[in-house]
Amino acid sequence: MDLLLQFQHILQSDPLIDEVGFVHPTQFATLTEDSTGDAAISDGTTFWCRDHKLGVSTQAVLPLYNAAKRAFIAAMEEYKRLGDDGLESEVMKHSKALLLLSSDFGTAWNSRKLVVSKKQQLSMYMGELLLSALVLSCSPKSDQAWSHRRWVIKSITGKCSALQEILGKESELVEKIAERSKMNYRAWNHRCWLVSYMTREQVMHELKKSRNWAGLHVADNCCFHYRRRLMLQILKDSTCKLENASPGYSVEVSEVWKEELDWNEMLINRYIGREALWLHRRFLSLCWMKQFATNLHDVSCHSDLKISTSDSFNSFIDNELHLLNSCSTILDNDFEDFQAQATYSATYILWLTKQIPEFWSEFQEKLTIGNLKTMLSKVCPERSFLWDSLID
């Protein structure tokens, strides 16, 4: 049978296929041997399918791609020329095959958008989410596949009662793909984009849910950025809806920050020398100081969210200086990680003093800035150009 027909036949006969992968011919032989009879479709050399997972031999990819492209272009030309509804299924079938082989073939994604937007059926939009997920199973960084999902969500917003449920599933999909594809910017960018469509309850729920994953992937800045996105959304909601909110609401928001600061400190002490953790702390501390901490000397700055404990500012500074001291002791074992930890802790303090002038004066009283420069020049001489400009 014709290669493309065979491929499309397998895809059609098992609509539950949720993963496609490309397999080298040598691995192919072992796959076929392992699949002991039950329900494995395989011709032994090109395709292998079981448990809704489809493997395609890397040797077949080029001829398959060429055939799929030819078929797609021919179908699209016919469809444009005749505008015939009967040709839609051809366009959909061939664009699907093509996208599984070349995930950023924008014209093929566009042809699907054209067909689906003409039909305006919710089930077709849902089908696009499934196809995009299938493409992402073999091309997790495909910009176009992620973009296609946003197009679907924008198209059904206001027309579909299950939107909140769909957003939850989108978020889960990102997490699933991020597990296999580390620091995948496109995937996490999609998750950040979803936040503006979420209810306040969902945002809170996402913050709770993503914490475990972040703790297990402390080098993945993307997940920490996602948490920053969620936290800023919570803050934004709280400042614009403050009049209507319950009295305890601002306390609740500051609790979110306090908890994150404590958790981050625990991770910093457990995982030595992780850049993403320290960058997260820069963000947390900056917002904490600006939004919540009360400085008794500073009467000009009033925020409704500030906590009226008189010493929150000073105790915060004391805590951060304590953290700096404990992190800048370089032990001999595992030298590199401790050196990184010392560098990150000192740059963290320096960064904060540059961002918050009030912190600068308090800080100077408690630790001389000259010490910080000496320390940075010692543990991180490669960035001496920066230290020289910043600390004079």
Binding site: Y65, L232, E382
Partner: protein, 313 residues
């Protein structure tokens, strides 16, 4: 350590253009317009653009134009703002902007601006600060910036700024060196750099330099030659390039060359491609490496090409 293997890279670019039968080149065919821009700009920086048949390239580029005025990534492909800029840049390299129906192209680009000042990539509405840069760069080259609402375009870009000083794809998106380049260059081209906290952004950018001297695009990532361009051009535009170690970066880029067959890869000993070859050579040009033409950090075109556009050579 040897220097830049310029001759090898020229040969590599010229042969890769002719290769059309392996999967890697075939699967790139939807973005051939960008490939052409990378390859041809590299040749120009190496002073070898005259080895290319101008008429052949120009007629191919014009065959990629859609009736809407936008360009596709290849003949028969749908138009997109990405390939429209690449097409304009390629024509600019050859001093052939006069073959364009300027109104048609600029109307296509201006028509992609949304009410909030952002830009869509095409009629299907994906929004990204990359597209803001592309629109502004394209219209600036064609001297039609007045066709869009520049003020709103700028305020949308500013709304994508993060507390770390960097920029993301949309408001609240993670900072990424590629997006930062787009936002900084767009602000530079519209005279709006005062919206940037240069010390804060410069700090984030120079923290991209890792021990080997190479630059990464985000925290905790491995260094990659293409970020030599995105990070370096941004640092130059905000006047903070003296915060990184240039010698070590030059060495890192040179270490990523394939000295046998030409071309530059993302990391030492990886497979080379046109994209990284271009960004490696362009990065070295920004670092004032001898024997290379100077490149403009905002337009991503050789300085002499930019001067020709604005000052009639």
């Amino acid at each position: 350590m040897g220097g830049l293997a310029a001759e090898k890279h020229i040969q590599y670019i010229l042969t890769v253009e002719k290769r059309k039968d392996d999967f890697v080149s075939v699967v790139m065919e939807h973005l051939r317009m960008s490939g052409a821009y990378w390859g041809l700009t590299t040749l120009d920086l190496l002073e070898k653009l005259d080895t290319v048949d101008v008429d052949e390239v120009v007629s191919w580029v014009m065959n990629c134009q859609h009736e809407s005025g936008g360009f596709g990534g290849n003949i028969g492909h749908d138009p997109h703002i990405l390939y429209t800029l690449s097409a304009v840049q390629v024509l600019a390299l050859f001093d052939k902007l006069n073959v364009l129906d300027i109104d048609k192209v600029t109307n296509y680009v201006a028509g992609l601006q949304n009410g909030d000042g952002s830009f869509s990539g095409d009629i299907w509405g994906e929004v990204d600060t990359r597209f803001s840069y592309i629109a502004i760069c394209c219209l600036s080259i064609l001297r039609c910036l007045n066709k869009i609402n520049v003020e709103k375009a700028v305020s949308y870009i500013i709304s994508c700024k993060n507390l770390d000083g960097g920029f993301g794809c949309t408001p609240g998106g993670e900072s990424h060196a590629g997006q930062i380049f787009c936002c900084v260059a767009a602000l530079s081209l519209t005279g709006s750099l005062h919206h940037i906290d240069k010390d804060l952004l410069g700090w984030w950018l120079c923290e991209r330099q890792v021990k080997s001297g190479g630059l990464n695009g985000r925290p905790e990532k491995l260094p990659d030659v293409c970020y030599s361009w995105w990070v370096l051009s941004s640092l130059i535009m905000i006047d903070r390039v003296h915060w990184i170690n240039k010698e070590k970066l030059v060495k890192y880029i040179l270490d990523c060359q394939d000295l046998e067959n030409g071309g530059i890869s993302d990391r030492p000993d990886d497979a080379v491609d046109v994209y990284h070859t271009y960004f490696g050579v362009a990065g070295l040009s920004l670092l004032e490496y001898p024997g290379l033409k100077a490149i403009d950090p905002a337009y991503a075109l050789p300085v002499n090409v930019v001067n020709r556009i604005f000052f009639g050579r």
